[in-house]
Symmetry: C2
Subunit: 309 residues, 2 copies
């Protein structure tokens, strides 16, 4: 049990991220009360059943009343409308945050609606799975992962939000919004678009190869399909709202891909081997940074025995 | 304990695949004796220490003497030289197989060297990890995965090899070599090149973003780095020996990627959402086919607790 950090937290949107936050806050007593709102009645019901929140409200406006922390956990493209709706109902002195995967456009969408006396501290937990919806959250999601804050100014409300994310299990860093968007374009947004594309190509080819693409799905492709199973609306919004950085990285990607394709075509084995040797080193760095585990085949063999028979 | 399927198996190359075969064959008594050869003395020593084989030989020629099954477990580009070396030493009636990730070029490289009275049954176990070398094998590697045979003719030697792969834990299918190479270009070879490329782009950008690309490594990229940590020599050989199919698939990939980039640039949210919805369905297919497990974040949270503290 940690100490209570906020007296009342309102989660707007009750999917993977909000659900994981709510479960952990309630388990560890980080909030006096956790109130939630989601668009559909079904999501609100599941959220109550699973105990993601103490209480649900039919509107976002109701949910934020009296809350000292409001966290927007909806797709990036829905932030504008939600901010507009809640603005008149926010308690004076409240902190508004979000968990959107893009920061510059969310700041532009949300910031102007918020009244004076309300503190806006945008955040992005670098933690997720390919699952979404109110069934998908779990309290350990943020354990050992980073949460990036992109505050517009310093202040005690930034410290306090950082304390919450620490209590949720995360390391916290502060970053400029534009820099955040560039780094994430590299580490997350471009890789997702690439995975979606490759799976799309395979889907077209199924007419040629029947179900073989699925049946003989090997390591590379199998991982791509998992990435490409992520929520379509969330990712549509990420790309539309981090357009410049994503297109910039994809441009560089295509350039490099063409260079490697040329090496294959001309039989330049040395270029290929050197390139692959260089990329291998990066993996070492990620393992050393503790952002992944290194067991054969990700322990799938073990897991399959343990969970799927 | 299964019944002995071959009296003496010779494994040429003692890395991930051969090591996993040897451990399983010895554990389950599938071979009277397992003999091995690898290029370097160090690999041969580790192989003996880990019990991958019963006995090692200093040359491939020695290792194949008296063997009724010889399996070539070296990189695809090394198959030609190995076949040339062993050919005069093969026992009459022996079966020669391989585990190369490419089939047409291996058949072209190996087939012509083999004497009459020796049966060539090419094979490819669709199972692997990003690890390589004699330390990396484990007996469950092939469990529940497919092994594709691309035999040049029917016969009891094909049945017998299929029995061995079944005993190693695999499902077995027979396929045309060219078709194999196309399917694998989609499910494995193109995805690997794409992952290598994306990690290479990120590596270039590290000068811009310092170690942030590693530190904040998110789901998409983290998976790419694992794929791009695979053995450089093995993959160089795969691309050089499955050139046409790989380039064909990469061509289609680039076309699709450009279409998605255009949708991002023009803000065509409907196109993006529809595309991502379509690719999501493929994941379902793979889970249904039993070729992956579906636990949050691949059970990394569980594994981290269990293995890495
Ligand atoms: N998933 C990840 O890997 C990840 C990681 C870090 C950050 N994020 C960010 O976190 C946010 C939420 O993602 P998530 O994965 O938790 O999503 P999710 O599981 O799909 O949940 C989204 C929630 O938002 C609600 N919602 C959707 N559209 C709405 C709208 N137009 N107005 C009001 N509510 C709406 C949904 O309500 P209904 O269920 O009632 O429709 C649902 O409760 C996104 O901004 C995303 O970029 C995601
Ligand atoms: N890894 C996978 O995911 C996977 C999956 C299915 C099929 N395959 C195929 O299986 C084969 C072996 O892959 P692997 O992952 O087991 O590789 P690995 O772990 O790197 O082992 C390769 C072995 O081949 C030996 N070798 C390398 N070059 C040689 C040469 N020029 N002449 C003689 N021996 C040589 C090495 O000996 P030293 O250690 O002494 O150098 C080593 O014992 C490849 O054809 C690959 O395409 C791999």
């Amino acid at each position: 049990m940690g100490a209570v950090i906020y007296d009342r937290v309102a989660l707007i949107g009750l999917g993977l991220i909000a659900g994981s936050m709510g479960l952990r806050m309630r388990a560890d007593g980080l909030a006096g009360e956790v109130v939630g709102h989601a668009r559909t009645a079904r999501t609100r019901e599941v959220a109550l059943q699973r105990g993601l929140v103490d209480r649900v409200c039919d509107t976002a406006a109701e949910a934020v009343e009296g809350a000292d922390l409001v966290v927007l956990c909806v797709p990036v493209g829905a932030m504008d409308a939600v901010a507009r709706e809640i603005a008149p109902h926010l308690a004076s002195g409240a902190t508004v945050s979000d968990v959107g995967s893009v920061k510059r456009d969310v700041i532009t969408a949300v910031g102007p609606h918020l009244p004076d006396g309300v503190h806006f501290v945008p955040a992005h937990p670098i933690a997720g799975t390919e699952h979404s919806g109110p069934e998908s959250g779990f309290p350990e999601l943020f354990e050992g992962r980073w949460c990036l804050l992109t505050p517009l100014s310093d202040g005690p409300e930034v410290e306090r939000l950082a304390r919450l994310w620490n209590a949720l299990g995360s390391h916290v860093d502060v970053m400029e919004p534009d820099h955040h968007d560039l780094v994430l374009a590299v580490t997350s947004h471009a890789p997702h678009l690439i995975a979606y594309t490759m799976v799309g190509v395979a889907d077209d080819l199924r007419r040629v190869t029947d179900s073989e693409v699925i049946k003989y799905s090997a390591a590379g492709f199998r991982d791509f399909t998992r990435i490409a199973a992520s929520d379509p609306v969330m990712w549509r919004d990420v790309f539309l709202n981090n357009k410049d950085a994503t297109l910039e990285i994809l441009g560089r990607f295509t350039e490099e891909l063409f260079a490697l394709q040329r090496a294959i075509r001309t039989g330049d084995g040395k270029m290929l081997e050197d390139y692959f040797t260089r990329t291998r080193a990066i993996r070492r760095g990620i393992l050393d940074a503790g952002q992944d585990v290194d067991v054969p085949d990700f322990g799938r063999a073990v897991l399959r025995k343990g969970t799927a028979g």
